[in-house]
């Protein structure tokens, strides 16, 4: 069971990383517009 003493801090590190990543995506406005990119997919590049 001693492995838990390593695993728990590691999970916390992973959680913190992903939460920070999520905060970054929100703050940079990546969820502001969820419709346009899907529409643009239909257009071929020039």
């Amino acid at each position: 069971m001693n492995i838990l003493y390593y695993l728990i801090p590691i999970t916390f590190c992973i959680v913190t990383f992903f939460v920070i990543a999520f905060i970054w995506t929100v703050k940079t406005g990546q969820y502001d517009d969820l419709d346009t990119p899907s529409q643009k997919l239909m257009i071929d590049d020039d």
Partner: protein
């Protein structure tokens, strides 16, 4: 319908009007380049000039994504670049530009409806080099423009306008919306991360961890729950506190009670190292509740955007006189200003054919004003010096000087819009509201019972706490309280995307039970505008001379804004094309539109005296046809003798004071009216005409349509009397003479025309002319009521079973925390099903 020959517009894909009614001369040789209107043709030529015709290729491949925008108000069709000048005003930019250094501005463009639109708008820098980049938000129909150093916003906005995307400035408050949205997302994300991680440890705890690890895991759960409690759950607790302060019931109260009670007990147990912990249930509860709330709010918000367009009625800028006007001379210098920055007692200049931006006092001796926005009547009205003029009226005569009285929201129009906005937020869903209140009381009684009676019987504190917490969570009437507003919002959104503006959702219920339908005639069943019904040549005239005469008529009346003049211009234009397309017409004939530009027009704009002008030494005049002058032309006399005195106007065309041609002008039945009325008839509705018009005019329209009775020559008071006799009457009207009847009707519907009346006395306003919206509205109302009941019953069943099960101790707080938001999800799914079926039904009726 003649489907065989319908030619689709190359630009917008709408059917081109019949060639005879087309006002544009079209060349038969270029059959492939046909357009429905001048606007489409202009857009096409601009795109072709910039090698952007790929737009059409992209468009071809796509199904239409959004509804076509609602037809625009007439005043906005003739925009010039000056209309966007205010965008370059430094004051305006300071207020609305979020970051001045970046030079970016957001616009709301309702016309965006497919991927091809996005493609085209993003190529704006190719059309106007002052734009550095463009970003389109398809969901919100907004566009953010980033300028290069040399660019100007007015140029960019006008370029957008030219290619068919009329931009409306997006107010700064709307830009705040994204920020709110981001905070909501952060709350959801964090509570989700918390819930998932607490679950990892909870599973271990349920799995049977013991000893030091049990305590460690519990502490970890308690720590992990903190951000969820302190950050994510804050909106619930804030709103609960607020409503307690106001002594009002709010669905956030039971939610907050559950959260606060649960976490206090849990932390208490954690410190005491015994008893149950509810961190898992609570974190899941917060996460799922926030998510469902977020989806709800997005639905409400999507509905909100279209409503703000009403404020776009008034011009943003105006011309202020630099010096107060003197009596004699015309003012020389003016400055272009933002309307908002005007002061009272300033003098402004309102040019011809522009909308008056503020309330003010007329300073001209006389002026001619189109008051359609307030009265619904299309005839221009004369005003005198010192008369009050209101924002939203249109100056159709000479340039006008106005002394400013009130601006913006203080104007009559602004007040009306404000008033209707506050009316638009009625007590939504009073039934579900009172139900959730009583549910709250039931819940409270249950808790008291559990604590007192159960507690004495079982004696175990943790068991009682379990039941109490499960009860508070599961009995939370979220689904119940939100179901009806959500369904209504979906319906309102669907209605407004189809050009139906609904003031209060209460009419959904009323419309289903209203039976006799009363229709006003003029402007509702009919087009409400003059058209040439009939024309007659008094003597034989060769075709080439007819051409000249039509050209002269067109030339004489072009600058006249009277409805009769406009009808004559339309008619003459059509006739010109018609004779041109006839076989045997000499295309090289010198008589063309252009060749008679030298008509010397001595034009008096007042209608009753008519218009007159000279051409090639002949005197021409267009004026009302007087009967006594046709005694010489005897065959006609009999035609007139049989005619009753009518609303139809007879206009004569005189050459050197001899009448050679007369027109009969009148109102015609709206093309949509007949099919709509028959449709209503099959649904078993009774229909009556309620008109102030004369008997024969009403009979002319009414006898061919399935009306049960015709009421004619009614004064507004009599109309009101008829309506009050029928408590369930639905009144559909437009003119000012209907407003009394409309205000008393069970359901009142205003058709295109008068905005003042629509906003003040009627429940529904059709922005699309004609009655086509009526069956759509009825279908919406019927389905809305059905779905409202379904969702109410579902959420009631859910809450009732939940309370019983929790009361018996069968449901644990964790399961309750899962099921609570699930019920909201069910309601949400039902609402979306509701919207989709509406869309499906509409498609069916259109095909």
């Amino acid at each position: 319908m003649q489907n065989r020959d319908v030619i689709l517009c190359l630009h917008c894909g709408l059917p081109c009007p019949d060639q005879t009614t087309l006002t544009l001369p079209i060349q038969p040789s270029k059959k492939e380049n046909l357009f429905c209107c001048l606007g489409c043709e202009t857009v096409y030529s601009i795109l072709k000039g910039s090698n952007l015709t790929k737009f059409y290729k992209i468009k071809e491949k796509l199904p239409l994504q959004k509804k076509e925008p609602v037809t625009r108000s007439k005043t906005y069709q003739n925009h010039t670049k000056q209309d966007y000048d205010y965008l370059d005003n430094s004051e305006y930019l300071k207020e609305n530009c979020p970051d001045l250094a970046k030079k970016s501005l957001r616009f709301y463009i309702p016309a965006i409806h497919c991927a091809a639109c996005i493609w085209l708008i993003e190529r704006l820098p190719l059309l106007y080099s002052g734009v550095a980049s463009v970003s389109v938000n398809f969901g919100q129909s907004t566009v953010t423009l980033f300028l290069s150093d040399s660019g100007s916003f007015s140029e960019a906005a006008f370029t957008l306008h030219q290619i068919g995307y009329q931009p409306f400035p997006d107010s700064a408050s709307k830009q705040m919306r994204n920020k709110k949205n981001r905070t909501a997302l952060l709350r959801i994300g964090i509570s989700g991360a918390v819930a998932a991680n607490i679950m990892i440890f909870s599973v271990a705890i349920y799995g049977g961890v013991d000893g030091q690890f049990l305590h460690l895991f519990n502490i970890i759960c308690g720590l992990l729950f903190l951000p969820s409690l302190l950050y994510s759950a804050r909106p619930f607790i804030n709103s609960a506190f607020f409503s307690i302060k106001q002594l009002q019931f709010n669905i956030d109260i039971p939610v907050s009670v559950a959260i606060i009670l649960g976490s206090t007990i849990s932390y208490f147990h954690l410190f005491n190292e015994n008893g149950d912990l509810y961190f898992d249930s609570l974190s899941v509860f917060v996460f799922l509740l926030l998510s469902s709330r977020h989806i709800y709010q997005q639905q409400f918000r999507a509905n909100d955007i279209d409503q703000n367009r009403l404020s776009a009625f008034l011009p943003k800028t105006c011309l202020r006189l630099n010096t107060p006007p003197s009596k004699s001379s015309f003012p020389e210098t003016t400055t272009t200003l933002l309307t908002e920055s005007l002061n009272t007692d300033d003098f402004i200049l309102v040019l011809e054919d522009t909308v008056i931006p503020v309330d003010g006092i007329c300073h001209n001796k006389t002026c001619i004003i189109d008051n359609q926005i307030f009265s619904g009547e299309s005839d221009p009205i004369n005003y005198q010096q010192g008369d009050d003029l209101f924002a939203g009226m249109k100056n159709t005569g000479q340039p006008l000087i106005l002394k400013v009285c009130s601006i913006g929201h203080k104007t009559r129009l602004g007040q009306l819009i404000e008033k209707s906005k506050s009316l638009r937020k009625p007590k939504l869903a009073t039934l579900s509201h009172s139900l959730s209140k009583s549910l709250f009381i039931v819940l409270f009684l249950c808790i008291v019972w559990t604590v007192l009676v159960d507690g004495m019987l079982r004696g175990s504190l943790s068991e009682i706490l379990n039941i109490v917490l499960a009860l508070t969570i599961i009995a939370c009437p979220c689904a119940l309280a939100l179901s009806t507003p959500l369904i209504y919002t979906m319906s309102l959104r669907f209605a407004s995307s189809n050009g139906i503006f609904i003031k209060t959702p209460a009419i959904f219920e009323r419309l289903n039970s209203s039976n006799p339908f009363f229709f006003d005639k003029t402007g509702t069943l009919t087009l409400g505008q003059f058209e040439v019904n009939q024309s007659h040549w008094i003597c034989e005239i060769p075709d080439s001379d007819k051409q000249t005469i039509y050209s002269i008529i067109k030339q004489l009346e072009t600058n006249n804004s009277h409805p009769v003049a406009k009808a004559l211009v339309r008619y003459a234009t059509v006739q010109l094309i018609h004779t041109k397309n006839q076989p045997g017409y000499d295309h090289n004939s010198k008589i063309k539109n252009e060749s008679i530009d030298d008509v010397e027009i001595d034009n008096t704009s007042a209608f009753h005296s008519g218009v007159e002008g000279n051409y090639k030494n002949n005197h021409y005049c267009i004026k009302p046809f007087s009967k006594d002058k046709i005694k010489e032309s005897s065959p006609l006399n009999s035609t007139f003798a049989n005619k009753p005195k009518s609303i139809e106007t007879i206009i004569g065309f005189y050459k050197n004071n001899i009448c050679i041609l007369w027109f009969e002008l009148g109102d015609t039945l709206h093309p949509s009216a007949s099919s709509v009325l028959h449709q209503l008839k099959t649904k078993g509705k009774k229909m009556h005409i309620l008109s102030g018009d004369q008997k024969h005019a009403v009979e002319k329209i009414g006898t061919h349509l399935p009306f049960d009775s015709l009421h004619y020559e009614k004064t507004p008071e009599q109309k009101l009397e008829v309506i009050t006799k029928n408590p369930n009457a639905c009144m559909i009207g437009d003119g000012a003479n209907d407003s009394a009847a409309l205000s008393k009707a069970y359901v009142s519907i205003a058709v295109q025309g008068s905005i003042e009346m629509a906003l003040s006395v009627s429940d529904v306003y059709f922005t699309v002319s004609g009655l086509n919206s009526l069956p759509i509205l009825i279908a919406i109302a019927k389905q809305t009521q059905y779905f409202t009941y379904v969702t109410l019953i579902i959420s009631l069943i859910y809450n009732a079973t939940g309370i019983v099960l929790a009361f018996l101790g069968i449901i644990t707080p964790l399961i309750a925390a899962f099921f609570m938001p699930l019920s909201s999800a069910t309601v949400l799914i039902l609402a979306i099903v509701h919207l989709k079926t509406l869309q499906h039904k509409l498609k069916k009726t259109l095909v």
